[in-house]
């Protein structure tokens, strides 16, 4: 099975001296990795690069064997829709829509037939104990987080990129949310790359990588 994520010779430069270099990094299919590091170190940027939302200056990134950095425009968007799920600190749910519609929105741009959208969304939300017909602004923060998780995995992605998903939660809820995310990803055989600046989450992951170590990683160590 193809690795969920493969990064080779990644170089990314921005004005002001911000730079990311990742010689080599891989996440195997279904594997779960915590990427830790202080705020502002570039963890989120790396996830954006992996999702094809930013362009590399050099190198390559592949998702489930498909080179997301080499394709452009609609082809890259389609690859993201099919293969990548994302979870954010502030959930980024679509306001005014129900939980079901938010989850189904993730399927709108992928290859899942329209007739199955509501069924998939309802199944996931049931599993996560969220009432599908409730508007997201009427849900608690914890429930919104679960809707965001459901949305991330609805399209059967190869990898879920979770960017500081627990930063807005207290330690107990943070631990629960991470556990739920790990559980759901495992159930659906999706790899998980979760970034956090919170060292307390490290115990929940078998594989923990410090962002600062990525630059020194060679192919052999991945």
């Amino acid at each position: 099975m193809e690795p969920a994520l493969v990064i080779r010779d990644l170089r990314f430069r921005r004005s002001g001296g911000f730079e990311i270099d990742v010689p080599s990094f891989e996440i195997a299919a279904g594997d779960q990795v915590l990427l830790s590091g202080p705020s502002g170190c570039g963890k989120s940027t790396l996830l954006m690069l992996a999702a094809g939302l930013l362009d590399l200056d050099a190198g390559s990134i592949s998702i489930a064997g498909r080179p997301i950095s080499a394709v452009r425009g609609a082809a890259r968007d389609a690859l993201r829709a099919d293969r990548v799920g994302m979870v954010f600190q502030t959930h980024h749910l679509l306001p005014g829509l129900t939980a079901r519609e938010n989850v189904a929105a993730a399927l709108l741009f992928g290859g899942v037939p329209k007739g199955r959208h509501a069924e998939i969304a309802d199944g996931l939300l049931d599993r996560l104990q969220v009432e599908p017909g409730t508007r997201i602004d009427r849900l608690s923060v914890g429930q919104q987080q679960r809707v965001a998780i459901a949305r991330a995995v609805a399209g059967e992605p190869s990898i879920v990129l979770a960017d500081e998903p627990t930063a807005a939660l207290d330690p107990e809820n943070a631990a629960n949310a991470v556990a739920l995310l790990q559980e759901i990803c495992k159930e659906r055989n999706a790899a998980l790359l979760l970034t956090s600046h919170d060292p307390s989450l490290e115990s929940a992951f078998e594989r923990v990588i410090r962002f600062s170590d990525l630059a020194g990683m060679e192919e052999a160590t991945s």
Partner: protein
């Protein structure tokens, strides 16, 4: 979940600005459509109201005025024709019919037409739709018989057997029903009491000869002719034309009323019967003519030659009503252009406001757009979503506008009918309406281009912060 649902959600999230922009566009569309609709309906109505008359003859100064006065009863012509001229014209050619008309009196603001029974027998208020007299009822026979148009009957409540006095002059508000410029307004109403049960006319068998209290107004201002009591002998079925505002009476009766004024002013005493009238009393204000045509047709080659021959007579003005109606609408067309320009102006303002509203909303929606991009929405699809949104505003505005136009045209038609008697049947012209609606949708979509491009260019990563 569909793209359309996303668009509708976005529109409803900004419901106030959406409603205001839709209304702005609706008003513009309504203005454009109703202008077209009313003009076309007006032209149709005027053309229909010409009925089966081919020519109008009068002493008016211009053919257009002759038609407005002779067919549409705008004003009594100032220069009447002698009865001898009527006889001369009638016998000059083989007409299908000739109908003399005498205007100058009114009843509660409704025009009184002195004419011959041929007006109700031969003249058709709309081609192929002859007059129908409600039963019981009959055509005018005696000099003081009167037949009411349907609108007069409806407005006054008068019916067969009721009696009434006519007012000399036309200067009374039709809608008001009050005659404010006569000495005693109540005197204009029927002779006996309530019009709804005014059938006890036993003591008025000699109607038409009561000269006891005539008011002669030397200045010619309108006044009530109480010298002659007219009796309603028939009520007409509605014809759907302005002719429904007429009271049709005998031309001799009209002559008689006018003779009273003239004789009194000349110190001659008063005429006793219509037989006393001399040639100076027997004047007509107009004449309706129809040339012979084959069955089922409304025109004949003879019409042009008849027209040309009559035109050689310098003492009369001859006019083809349909030609003059076309001319009238040619004049009105320039006014239309002003309203159409106004409508287009409002429409463009509406489009600009669509641009502004969407442009400003993009500032707030960039994070949502970024989220859609994360979910796999292409830039092109984002562009399409915003364009669909602006086009939707156009669709809703245009559809509302068609509704407004229809309702507005109906109200305008009702007001026009009650104020002027011009009956127009506003219909929304499908072809031009579709064109206007389609144009509006395209314009609204075009108004969304700049905001859509702004959405297209949304830098995704930037709008998903704050993260680290």
């Amino acid at each position: 979940m569909t793209d359309l649902r996303l668009v509708l959600k976005s529109l409803s999230a900004r419901s106030t600005s959406t409603v205001v922009t839709c209304l702005l566009i609706a008003i513009a569309v309504a203005l454009l459509i109703s202008m077209r609709s009313l003009r076309e309906a007006g032209r149709r109505s005027f053309t229909r109201g010409v009925g089966n008359a081919h020519l109008v003859v009068s002493g008016d100064s211009s053919p257009l005025v002759a038609v407005l006065n002779g067919i549409f009863y705008a004003n009594p012509p100032r220069t009447p024709l002698p009865e001898s001229k009527v006889t001369e014209i009638a016998s000059s050619m083989p007409w299908a019919w000739t109908i003399p008309t005498q205007l100058g009196d009114s009843f509660r603001g409704f025009p009184v037409l002195g004419t011959t029974p041929a007006f109700l027998d031969d003249f058709e208020p709309a081609i192929g739709e002859p007059w129908k007299i409600r039963r019981p009822g009959r055509n005018i026979e005696g000099p003081f018989d009167v037949v009411l148009g349907s609108r007069v009957a409806a407005a006054t409540g008068l019916g067969v057997g009721d009696r009434l006095f006519l007012t000399h002059g036309m200067g009374v508000d039709a809608a008001g029903g009050e005659v404010g410029i006569v000495d005693d307004p109540s005197a204009t109403v029927e002779a006996e009491g309530d019009p709804h049960d005014g059938h006890d006319h036993d003591d008025h068998d000699d109607h038409g000869h009561d000269h006891d209290h005539g008011h002669v107004h030397a200045d010619g201002s309108p006044h009530v002719h109480e010298e002659a009591t007219f009796e309603v002998v028939g009520v007409l079925e509605p014809s759907g034309t302005h002719h429904d505002r007429l009271l049709v009476t005998s031309i001799e009766g009209s002559w008689f009323l006018h003779a009273i004024d003239r004789w009194e002013a000349a110190g001659r005493g008063l005429p006793e019967t219509v037989d006393d009238l001399d040639a100076e009393d027997r004047l007509v204000t107009g004449m309706l003519l129809r040339t012979p045509v084959r069955a089922g047709r409304n025109s004949a080659a003879i019409l042009q030659s008849s027209f040309d021959r009559l035109r050689r007579d310098p003492s009369i003005t001859v006019a083809s009503p349909t030609t003059q109606v076309d001319r009238l609408f040619g004049i009105v067309a320039s006014l239309d252009a002003v309203f159409i320009a106004l409508g287009i102006g409002i429409l463009v303002s509406g489009a600009i406001s669509v641009t502004l509203v969407l442009w400003n909303s993009m500032e707030l929606r960039r994070r949502q757009i970024a989220v859609l991009r994360v979910l796999g929405c292409t830039r092109g699809r984002v562009l399409g979503l915003v364009l669909t949104e602006s086009a939707m505003i156009g669709v809703v505005g245009a559809v509302l506008g068609v509704g407004f136009a229809f309702a507005g045209a109906r109200v305008a038609a009702e007001v026009l009918a009650s104020r002027t008697g011009v009956v127009i049947l506003p219909t929304i012209d499908a072809d031009s309406s579709i064109l206007i609606v389609a144009g509006t949708v395209v314009l609204a979509a075009f108004a969304g281009v700049a905001p859509a491009v702004r959405a297209y260019r949304t830098p995704v990563a930037e709008h998903l912060r704050p993260l680290d």
